[in-house]
Each structure stands twice: as structure tokens, then as C-alpha cells.
Amino acid sequence: MIIIHPYAKALINGKQNPKNYAYWKELIYLIDKSIHIVQIGVDGEEQLVDDFRMNLPIIELRQLIKDCRTWISVDSFFQHLAWSEGKPGIVLWSVSDPLIFGHPENTNLLKSRDNLTPNQFLWWDFTEHNPDYFLKPEEVIKFI
């Protein structure tokens, strides 16, 4: 079983969070069909796989992380939670800086540092979502 955490926290202004990976459906399509994928998230997020577990408490998320083979996430709380459980995974980066917000124990996939938002410490509401800032699924799948 692998876990996916596709969406970072919703923005107050209603726009798409610029940290949300743009090609989840394509990436999921490329993952070996024999692998069970569990999506975690909250109410209102798009369901991408059959097994979508919403609004899990932290204690259940920790157990799920212990049980998984690995995980794939955007830059969100989940990468920190999995890191705290000692379970390495893949983080799909775009505009936030993995050197600041990431953990070297993970596989941090950043297309280019040129795409990083100049000020990393403001609300993400001020940064536009840009699909071109992410690695394409064909490249990501090589790391899974």
C-alpha cells in the first residue's frame, strides 16, 4: 500500500494552492495497478482513487504511515508527519523551497529552483498556481 496526499491546505482566497501537483491523475495512471493506493485528505477535495480516507485524526494517520510501503505528497503537513514517523517518501515541489521546508530523508522532486517564490514566508494566496512548475508524471514515476 502507498499513500498519496494530493492537496495542500485550501487557500482563503479560494484559488488553487500553488503547491498542488498538477498531474495527479496521470501519475496515478502510471503507478502499477497491483499497488493499493490510499488517498488521504479532507472534505471537499477531489477523489482520485477508490480508497479515499477523509479527515483522519493524527493518531490514525500515524498508523497508516507505519503500515504503508511509501507515500507521495505535495508540500503539506503530511510530509512532516511521515518524516516524524521515520518513513521516507516522495515530495512533489513547485514554488516552495525544499531546503527550507523539506527533509533530506525524503526524495524531494523539484523541477527548478528558478520557480521558487522569492519570498517563501508569505501566505501562498499571493502565488499563482502554475502546472509548468512541476515535474511531469513520466519523470516522477521513475522515483517510485
Binding site: I58, F77, H80, S84, I100, Q120, F121
Partner: protein, 324 residues
């Protein structure tokens, strides 16, 4: 020693003690790189039209001291000092508008700050004629603040490490914030500020040969508010902070992921008391309680701090810098 900003907050003293203070600053044997006057008057005037002030500005120009006259926001001098604190200078020498420094004050304060390691703030005697208190047994400890006079209230014979200073002193800028939760009277603002520097691991020094004369003027003044509840509000914040002097106050007004990362360094923090948003990650008291106890919690904003520090390291190390 790097750049020094001299900051003067003034209210209601255009033609009483403020000119004396400005003259004394201009006559320092070591001059600041810049003088900023924060005008917090209820009805501010353009002092460039006053001859005596024209003379001051001309003298500053001749001596090569940059100067600026800023109109403050009328929120109290803690807001003014915080503005000075963040103006990009390495040190700030804050002078009250009724406290007249002897000509050698800045020179000697700078030398202490330069020659002694890890100084956060250094201040000399603040003498208020005709009162001279017996300070021979003063400890300068924060917990004794209500039971002993301030060490600055008499001549200081030798350098002494203390927990806090008041009134006028030279401090390392940009490493600790003023508590902006205090009322406009900003009661104990400088005590809280210097004590915060002390808690951050810097030395706070009471130093000899740097004396100022505090001409307590009953008219005007940056604290010229009479509302008792403002003093009570500020005193409560002061007591809440000092009451936790043996604890490391941690305020996590940030996201879930930030709490998780902070949790990894929690065991390194001495005797922490944590206020946060996610008790299922870290046992904590609420952010609302922190706000009520401490007045303002901006100084604990990890994102604000990383922005201020132009941070390029990890979030975990930023928390270490803030709390260890």
C-alpha cells in the same frame, strides 16, 4: 562596532527638554550614524520652521550625522522603538526626550558593547535630581524589580550584569521585538524589552561613565496618559511574563506541519510552556490564552522571523534559533 541609530521618541516637549536632549546628542564625543526623532505629539508641528531646530539640523548636517523627523502613529513609544529596532542598524541608542546624556555616553556605551562579548544592551546611570537611591545592594534581577531600586537610579561604580534596564540605553537591534501588546502608555516596555534580550542569551549591562540626567518634566512626555486601566493592563502583561521567568515560552501560532517539525526539537528546550493550535501533536495551552497573557505574540511568529532573518536554512533550525 557597526552602524548606530539614535532614536528619540517625543511628545509634548518641543520647547522644554527635547531641545536639551538634541543638543546633548549633537555634542557627543562619538556621534551616531543617524538620528531619528519620532514625533508622537497629538498636534504635531513642522519644526523645520523653528529657528532653534533649524540650528540643530544644520549642526547635524555639518557633523555628517544623517537625521530624520518622523511623525509617529500615536500608539505609544513601544511602536516607535520597534520601528527603530527594525530600521536596519546594528545598534540603537534610545534616548528619552527628557533624559540628557553627558557628552561621553555613546562613546562609552559603544566601547562596552564592542569590548565585551555577546552584549544585548548596555545602559548607564539615569540620575533624576534631586533623588539618588541607595543602589549599593541592588541585584538587577527581574524577580526583585518590585523590592529594590533600579541600578540606574544612582551612579554606577563598576560594570554589572543585570536582567533588565530602563529609560535610555544602547541595544543590539533586530534580535528581539518590543511587546506591541502593551497600551499606549507602554508601561514597563523597556524593562520587558531588555529582559527579552536577556532571555535570548545576551548580556545586559549596567555600566559606569555613561550618565544621563533625567529632567522629569511634569508636562508632556511619551507616557502622558492618566488612565489607570492602561497601567494595570501593562502591569498584568509584565507580571505574566515575569511569572514565567523560569520557563521557555513557546507560541506556535502556525500550521500543523510546523507543529510537527517543532515537536522534533521540543526535548531540547529547557522547561518549555507551549501555546499552540494542535494539542493532538503537542500538548499545549491555547493561542487565545497566550494572546491574553502576553498582549502580543508577533515575536513568536516563526514565518515573520524567517522573513526578518532572510532565512535559507531549514524550518527546524529556524525554530532552534528562535527558542534555543
Amino acid at each position: 562596532m557597526n552602524k548606530v541609530l539614535c532614536s528619540v521618541a517625543t511628545r509634548g516637549r518641543y520647547f522644554t527638554t527635547l531641545p536639551l536632549v538634541l543638543q546633548a546628542i549633537i555634542n557627543q564625543t562619538t556621534l551616531p550614524d543617524k538620528l531619528v526623532i519620532f514625533d508622537d505629539n497629538d498636534e504635531p508641528k513642522d519644526m523645520r520652521n523653528e529657528m532653534i531646530y533649524q540650528y540643530f539640523f544644520q549642526m547635524l548636517d555639518i557633523k555628517g550625522v544623517k537625521w530624520e523627523w518622523l511623525f509617529a502613529e500615536k500608539k505609544g513609544q513601544h511602536h516607535i522603538h520597534q520601528q527603530a529596532n527594525r530600521m536596519g542598524y546594528d545598534w540603537v541608542w534610545r534616548c528619552d526626550d527628557d533624559c540628557i546624556p553627558e557628552p561621553n555616553v555613546l562613546q562609552n556605551l559603544k566601547s562596552y558593547a564592542t569590548e565585551i562579548d555577546n552584549v544585548g544592551a548596555v545602559g548607564g546611570a539615569i540620575l533624576t535630581p534631586p533623588n539618588l537611591f541607595d543602589t549599593s545592594n541592588v541585584t538587577g534581577k527581574i524577580n526583585n524589580i518590585c523590592s529594590e531600586p533600579n541600578i540606574q537610579w544612582n551612579h554606577i561604580e563598576k560594570i554589572k550584569e543585570v536582567d533588565h534596564l530602563h529609560c535610555s540605553f544602547l541595544y543590539r537591534a533586530g534580535v528581539h521585538d518590543y511587546n506591541l501588546g502593551l497600551s499606549r502608555v507602554a508601561h514597563r516596555e523597556e524593562t520587558l524589552f531588555t529582559y527579552g534580550l536577556y532571555q535570548n542569551g545576551y548580556k545586559i549591562l549596567a555600566a559606569p561613565h555613561a550618565e544621563s540626567l533625567h529632567m522629569k518634566n511634569p508636562e508632556g512626555g511619551i507616557r502622558s496618559e492618566t488612565r489607570k486601566e492602561m497601567y494595570e493592563h501593562d502591569e498584568a502583561i509584565f507580571n505574566n511574563i515575569v511569572g514565567l521567568s523560569d520557563r521557555t515560552i513557546v507560541v506556535l501560532n502556525c500550521g500543523l506541519g510546523d507543529h510537527i517539525v517543532f515537536n522534533s526539537i521540543l526535548s531540547d528546550i529547557p522547561n518549555p510552556v507551549v501555546f499552540g493550535c494542535y494539542p493532538d501533536v503537542i500538548p499545549c495551552r491555547s493561542i487565545a490564552e497566550a494572546q491574553a497573557l502576553f498582549g502580543n505574540i508577533d515575536q513568536y511568529n516563526i514565518y515573520g522571523k524567517m522573513d526578518q532573518w532572510k532565512w535559507t536554512g531549514s524550518l527546524q533550525d529556524a525554530f532552534r534559533k528562535l527558542y534555543l
